[in-house]
């Protein structure tokens, strides 16, 4: 205990350690790759997500296309309902990143990474980009099935790609939500539970009919729900043509649904790493 009396300043190294580190983009690429390797080795985790969104598309199309098409003026109900399918796939798919993180927290690898000089941004964006990749596959599959079902797009193939882009943007941005829950709880159950956030977002909106046909509280909810504007943008692309006002509103909605969860997830990581 005698050494305790030595002044602390004496021990600070005079020459600072040369800080070698990987460029950020490389760290992100490596973490994304790492997560994709894990996904490839656990294929069972991917199948349900793929199945369910195609299933929804079939059900909506089959059960509603005959009944409620008076507002479509001869356009296809498939093109009207497809964005719902894409968006619900994006929102539920946005939970993937959180699940990848929770898996690492549970097996302890997350701490191992925290002990390296890895950038916190790379630590979070690796799983998010891996999730985005899976989401792209899933969305492309839905669009492929829709095209086989006879989808016609008012803006051609470019419009279909634009819808894919919207799905990706939304799903990747909203991933921050699942990531935050994963970091704050460290619990797989809570994280997969959080992915049910897609329910209110997908259904408290103009899901099955255009917004002007909604009434009362549902209409109010839909007007406040950013998803309404994403739906409006993607529907207009498929049914009418390039409506830049709608597309602009859709992009703003995606930005809101992306930026807020992202900020929360950075805060959540801080909570996790500092209050443990």
């Amino acid at each position: 205990m005698t050494a305790m009396t030595k002044p602390i300043t004496q021990t600070t190294p005079s020459v600072s350690e040369k800080a070698k580190s990987m460029p950020l983009w490389k760290q992100i690429t490596m973490m994304t790759w790492r997560n994709l390797v894990v996904i490839r080795r656990t294929p069972a985790s991917v199948i349900p997500g793929l199945m369910i969104s195609v299933f929804f598309l079939f059900i909506y199309e089959a059960s509603l296309s005959g009944a409620a098409t008076f507002f479509l003026a001869g356009q296809s109900y498939l093109a009207f309902i497809l964005p719902v399918s894409i968006i619900s796939a994006s929102l539920s798919g946005s939970g993937l990143a959180g699940q990848y993180i929770v898996r690492d927290i549970e097996n302890g690898y997350f701490d191992k990474l925290l002990l390296t000089p890895i950038s916190r941004i790379a630590l979070l964006s690796g799983p998010v980009f891996a999730g985005a990749f899976m989401l792209a596959v899933q969305t492309a599959l839905i669009l492929g099935v829709a095209m086989l079902m006879g989808l016609e797009s008012a803006t051609g193939f470019a419009g279909i790609l634009a819808v894919l882009g919207f799905g990706l943007l939304l799903g990747t941005g909203f991933a921050g939500f699942g990531v935050s829950v994963a970091l704050l709880t460290g619990s797989a159950a809570a994280t997969s539970g959080a992915s049910f956030a897609f329910f209110p977002l997908t259904f408290l909106t103009a899901t099955f009919v255009p917004i002007n046909l909604l009434e009362g509280w549902l209409k109010t909810a839909a007007e406040w729900n950013p998803i309404t504007y994403v739906l409006q943008a993607t529907r207009s692309i498929l049914l009418e043509g390039w409506n830049w006002e709608y597309i602009g509103q859709g992009l703003i909605a995606c930005a809101i649904l992306g930026v807020i969860p992202f900020v929360i997830s950075l805060w959540a990581l801080r909570q996790r790493t500092s209050r443990k």
Binding site: T11, V38, K276
Partner: protein
């Protein structure tokens, strides 16, 4: 080169409910020494390690690892410290090369260098033949060895090993001991090792600190601590507790110190062997019949008993509070 020292001053960690897992802990680890941090389950060992390795922030107090502040210079601490936590953090579906190369690259090595280093380390921990197998299929001992290799990738100057031999069979345990000594002697690493095995601390550590219920009970060289107990002890075991107490009352004045440990009376004194006849005579005189009588050199176990008033193993089994940090 960092200072390779660890200086800890009044470190505290409070969890919810006003529970102090680490309560005002101070100690010094010199450059190049093996420091044994000894304590039963839940004593605060792992919590101390998570703070020193930057995984958790202290509630109050200061600590420098290699001269770097663990709170404000966490990034520098991570560069010079190698850490093998008690819970081995390896993704079970990944393979040893992937894990080691990723680790190397994150510490700034080129991919080629990282691969070279990974092969070197796999050789060192004798896992070169198992690179095709996902680590989830490894045995406990293999995982432990790979985890040690992970901690060594960036050639740390200070190595933290949190219970490195818990759950290992005796042969693997001796392997780890040999490796720890080699790293210390050949690579000059300062090694901070927590353990709940007295034998391990005795075997490996240049100096030890015993932590109990979040506080440091004693700190020093094992030999010095044992010597401070008064060299040797005569241990007399009786059939029941009242007899032990009677014997203590009768013999206390003849020895330096007498202590009851369950049904055994421990009598500490210099040149204990010469005192045996007197002890036996006294017991005969009082007609106290011992079950056994032994003479022992003091062990760290005795040190622990002396400083905490409890038996080390007993504490471990019976009233180990839940370790607050995994």
């Amino acid at each position: 080169m960092s200072s390779r020292q660890i200086i800890v001053e009044n470190l505290k960690k409070r969890y919810e409910g006003d529970f102090y897992a680490v309560n005002d802990v101070s100690f010094l680890v010199n450059a190049g020494e093996i420091f044994g941090f000894l304590g039963p389950n839940g004593a605060g060992k792992s919590t101390t390690v998570t703070m020193l390795t930057t995984l958790a922030l202290p509630t109050s107090g200061k600590a420098h690892v290699g001269g770097y502040d663990i709170v404000h210079q966490a990034q520098q601490v991570r560069r010079i410290a190698g850490v093998a936590l008690q819970d081995i953090g390896l993704d079970p579906v990944m393979k040893s090369m992937e894990l080691l190369v990723t680790q190397g690259q994150l510490f700034g090595m080129s991919r080629m260098d990282a691969i070279k280093r990974a092969k070197e380390l796999l050789e060192l921990v004798r896992l070169s033949e198992f690179t095709d197998r996902p680590v989830g299929k490894y045995s406990g001992g293999m995982r432990r060895r790979l985890d040690l290799a992970m901690a060594l990738v960036h050639k740390p100057e200070i190595l933290f090993l949190d219970e490195p031999t818990t759950g290992l069979d005796p042969a693997s345990r001796r392997d780890v001991w040999a490796e720890v000594r080699r790293l210390n002697v050949q690579e000059g690493m300062t090694i901070f090792l927590t353990t709940q095995y007295l034998e391990e601390a005795d075997e490996l550590a240049d100096r030890i600190a015993i932590i109990n219920a979040g506080k440091i009970a004693v700190e020093g060289q094992p030999a010095e601590l044992k010597a401070a107990l008064g060299a040797e002890s005569i241990n007399v075991t009786f059939g029941d507790n009242p007899t032990v107490e009677k014997a203590r009352d009768a013999l206390q004045s003849m020895v330096d110190r007498a202590q009851i440990d369950r049904k055994t009376l421990r009598l500490y004194l210099q040149n204990a062997a010469y005192a045996i006849p007197n002890v036996v005579n006294k017991l005969n005189e009082l007609q106290l019949q011992p079950l056994s009588l032994t003479l022992t050199q003091p062990t760290l176990d005795d040190v622990f008993l002396q400083v905490t008033g409890q038996r080390f193993e007993e504490e471990t089994e019976d009233e180990a509070p839940v370790e607050a940090v995994a």
